[in-house]
Amino acid sequence: MEKPEDLLLDIQHLHTAFRVGDDFYDAVDDVNLTLRKDEILAIVGESGSGKSTLATSIIGLHNPLNTKVTGDILYNNLNLVGLNEPIYNRIRGNDIGMIFQDPLAALNPLMRIGDQIAETLVYHTKMTKEQRDARVLELLAQVGIPNPQRTFRQYPHELSGGMRQRIVIAIAIACKPPIIIADEPTTALDVTIQAQILDLLRDIQKETHSGIILITHDLGVVAETADRVAVMYAGQMVELGTAQDVFAHPTHPYTRSLLRSMPQADADDDELHVIQGVVPSLKNMQMTGCRFAERIPWVPETAHEATPTMHEVGPDHFVQCTCYKTFHFQDEDATQSEG
């Protein structure tokens, strides 16, 4: 089902641990994930579930002094885990483009926009200054900047948040990387601008046939944009499937809770279904058993696996732990017993 030539990234048993005090704790715990050519893979999960940590591990930007990354991130027969810096620098920007959450902070306030975009080209191409400038103008037009000539010479503070995010995108796609990672690219923007930026990302994806990892906690964004969805909880991958499957047949209790917590305009009851509790902090994560168990205490302990594993519940659709089999929401239970 997964043709090897379609594979862009093959992440296996990835662990990323941060130092807290004297010990290391896994913020990404045994994640297996692939990114294919020509797809948008969404990673969703609450704040603190390890999405950014996963993204940063792929591009190798964790501070080695307080972070340990183990496992494999395979890209073109190259293992990115533990890769030496000079080689990694040839991949960053060239093979993997990164888009960050906060466009206001992501650009150097002292550098002209044009120079910031051109900087990527300096280190990955043999272009002359004139060729680079021409390419930058082309990129500015591609990301929808109305007056490229003018913006080329402007500084970040002269642009709006939406425009700056377009610049960040231009930087990420400057070298036409096959992989683009966007970590909450629209969270800091207002709604109308969000839609424009997502459209832009989709257009770029169609044009370049790149694989995009789109990190978000907005399920609405996922439904509109993604081809496949990976749901993360407390550092682990709890459900993975095509967007269609995950939205039509959400299986893991966490995925179901997330979907139910989405405010729905057309819902007949205007009750907000919040998930009780919070994502545990690194130090407080259970080392064994199903990590979501503590937030669904009404589910009997026997429903969970002692060592949760991935179960295939449909073609290309995987779920962790066995608790999904008997899971129901508490109020569903109530209606059942009433009726």
């Binding site: 930007l61 960050f100 902070a105 306030p109 002292l110």
Partner: protein, 320 residues
């Protein structure tokens, strides 16, 4: 940018007027007047009164103020009775001496503090950083005159490596290479010591700036482009960290002028600071007044300079 500078300059005018009024009032409040120094037991009080009237000292204060300002613009600040020469020329000579010492101090200060600040910030919590921290804390904790006195005692008197007073040797002819060499020798010890003493602020600022900027998102963006770490540091982290230092430079210069009072006095270096202290000792009021005015003016100028530097180096300040 020129607009910003012009606007800042215009703002300075009322400040200057206020400064001149303050200094004038202070001068009037001081006991004595330009003729006090001429008084001898033989002086006829009537004759003195006539002299005072002729000099306009009995006019209303605003008339006197405008006359004083008028003279100021013609470069006439009265006479120093201790030195028996016009104040303008006296301060002019001293200002040149102070300028060279302050410039040398500034160069030494940045030459030491910028590398140390960068090392401390880049290698946060390393032993190098800790050593630099200890150094800055000692500088902050011990009063500067203690360092100045010890430096003079050890390197000037005991080791005898440097001249211990004056700004030039007496036995050299002005304008010859030997003369300039001698002047340089005379600013070496005070300049090195004062430069060293004024490093702690810059080191701390720069260290904090480097540490803060290292965690900035735009640095992460630069790394994600595949920019080598060496370039990330120099082009993104360092440039942004040097910004406040550059902006503070104008004020640092003012600070150095204030510090020159200690340095020049302890090293008996004939500059404005030393002149100020000695004039207070001899109650040479016209000199004190003129120097107060000058120091005030230079402080305002330092602020203006800071603003100008800021508007040059930081694009965000260049508002139209």
């Amino acid at each position: 940018m020129w607009k910003t500078i012009l606007r800042r300059f215009l703002v300075m005018i009322p400040q200057l007027i206020l400064l001149s009024v303050l200094v004038f009032v202070l001068a009037k409040m001081m006991p004595g007047d330009p003729f006090t120094g001429m008084i001898t037991p033989q002086t006829d009080p009537k004759q003195l009164d006539a002299l005072r009237a002729a000099a306009g000292l009995n006019d209303p204060w605003w008339t006197q103020y405008f006359r004083w300002v008028g003279n100021l613009f013609q470069g006439d600040l009265g006479n120093s009775y201790a030195y028996r020469r016009p104040v303008t020329g006296l301060i002019g000579d001293r200002a040149v001496n102070t300028f060279w010492l302050a410039l040398f101090t500034l160069v030494i200060s940045y030459a030491i503090s910028i590398p140390l600040g960068v090392i401390a910030g880049r290698f946060e919590d390393s032993n190098r950083d800790k050593a630099i921290q200890v150094y800055t804390f000692i500088l902050l904790a011990v009063p500067s005159f203690v360092f100045l006195l010890f430096s003079l005692l050890i390197f000037g008197y005991i080791l005898d490596w440097f001249p211990t007073s004056g700004y030039v040797s007496l036995n050299v002819d002005a304008g010859t290479p030997a003369y300039w060499l001698s002047r340089f020798q005379h600013i070496l010890l005070p300049g090195l010591t004062a430069g060293l003493l004024s490093t702690s602020g810059t080191i701390q600022y720069l260290r904090a700036g480097v540490i803060d900027n290292t965690n900035e998102d735009f640095v992460r963006t630069a790394r994600s482009k595949g920019v080598p770490e060496r370039v990330v540091f120099s082009k993104h982290i360092l440039r942004n960290s040097l910004l406040p230092i550059a902006a503070f430079m104008g004020n640092s210069i003012t600070g150095l002028l204030g510090g020159s009072i200690y340095v020049e006095t302890i090293f008996s270096y004939q500059g404005m600071g030393q002149l100020f202290i000695s004039s207070i000792g001899t109650r040479d009021y016209s000199v004190i007044t003129a120097l107060t005015l000058l120091f005030g003016f230079l402080t305002l100028l330092g602020n203006l300079l800071s603003d100008i530097i800021m508007s040059i180096v930081d694009p965000r300040i260049r508002v139209e």
